[in-house]
Subunit: 317 residues, 2 copies
Amino acid sequence: MSEQFYVGVDLGGTAIKVGLVNAAGELLQTFEGPTEVAQGTEAVINNIEKYVRHIVETSPYEWDQIAGVGAGVAGFTNIKEGIIVLAPNIGFKEVPIRSILEERLGKMIKIDNDANVAALGEVWSGAGKGLEHCVCYTLGTGVGGGIIVGGKIVQGFSGLAGELGHMAVIPDLEAIQCGCGKMGCLETVSSATGIIRMANDAVERGDRTSLSLLEHAITAKDVFDAAKAGDEVSERIVSRAAFYIGKSMASIAVTLNPERFIIGGGVSKAGDYLFDQIRDTFMKLTPEPVTRGVSIVAAELGNDAGMIGAAGLFLHS
Amino acid sequence: MSEQFYVGVDLGGTAIKVGLVNAAGELLQTFEGPTEVAQGTEAVINNIEKYVRHIVETSPYEWDQIAGVGAGVAGFTNIKEGIIVLAPNIGFKEVPIRSILEERLGKMIKIDNDANVAALGEVWSGAGKGLEHCVCYTLGTGVGGGIIVGGKIVQGFSGLAGELGHMAVIPDLEAIQCGCGKMGCLETVSSATGIIRMANDAVERGDRTSLSLLEHAITAKDVFDAAKAGDEVSERIVSRAAFYIGKSMASIAVTLNPERFIIGGGVSKAGDYLFDQIRDTFMKLTPEPVTRGVSIVAAELGNDAGMIGAAGLFLHS
């Protein structure tokens, strides 16, 4: 039989990225086109079909060599039924994407949410390559996660596993309400949104900080840059964001005993300045035997993780 | 081929319990004999062998029908190598129990720690029968746990998964040091030991409580009995124990999204008085979608869970 390939689709609100991936998890070729959310669900689905066909047609491989098409979606997915339950960025609600694409493409289709497929991508061919037990954090607008046990994504009973941003790790006295309705969730502090909120609060309170001199809306990057330059208010904000990530990892470590924590997403670009603080907290809060051999590292695949992981759904789920 | 059976061994500090289990997870026959820890490691191993042979000889089945012998041990186990690393109650240290028993019994041997095999027993034929995603708590001297994902025990990278008693859920201001060396572990509050400690502290402080009238050392059962009878100090102690179990479950729910939490161990005998408070906290602290369809129930197998789960190591690991 000739070599088989997989197409991984990263379905985002602005762009649809499609990648041709081999059975070793190598991304051979990519194509990116607009999602065109404003044109409606039908148009978005047409675009997915078009881009998938396009990348195969422009590759050296035959359509018959494509063993399956996987898609990662920013939103709630019902992976058993292959339905995108709710994906606000893409304007999808209760879209049975698997059956639609199966009919249009004549291929096996698998879907999962973006954090899960990114985690799978990292474990398949990125920062967790070959590891059986890994936990991935995505620090972006929110805090997402993906749990890998025995080399596979943990979906949980109703597909909601890996919602690490909603671990209630902030003590009551400091807790604010999260978008999910609960108090003290990790992402109220450790996401880009949380970091920006703390920065704006500090400026509004009149704290002495270089952030108050900025002439644009404060970004998470501004806060990290100021912290690295010695701005004490920014240092405290970053410390707080790092502390609660480390604290959540301590809880996960005694529960799942992963070998590696992998951190991706925009906020992770702050690098070792952030990572070292996370590592310190993790070591301080975790029983020693559970820290042995455990590493906390940056994601490696960046924006490719979604495409690679989506293709990986065929081999690791 | 004739029907196959498994022997499950529950290796405790006082007694060794052996059970004959069929492939459906039914416990057909049991035998219990003294461990004789004081006689040393060799004597304990001899006893295991003797009791395993005895239960098969006194059964209607042939030795050849035994497909394997599983053992659950209260202690640290290296399940890959089949070594009991450290089991203080049994006086075992670095005992390669698997190879020893394989040679003596001529059967496949599997081992795991007691909390894991109890969890497996409950999922195989107890309170979690047939469920893919379950988390079991054992509330005893400490707080143990077993995580079931996809019907299998999660071991973790170095076999330390499921140490739920060491989730750091107690806020800094109230945290005391745990036996593991860290602050604020769940078991400092929600184990029998933790409950007794809080009770003794209250009596020593001179709090008005019926516990101060007891003429014996306070037990966890005393505290529950007093709480049910309206003793306010005892009510607060139980509420606190329940609250932090519920809080730890909220973190696990967003991480692993289990369908059921199963609670066993001596403390769980307090029944719905305890369970209702745990359920209330869980519902209060967990994002609503992750609570849907989730139940918190008592373990069903009691002291048999260890034997059944140890036998289940052959079918579920």
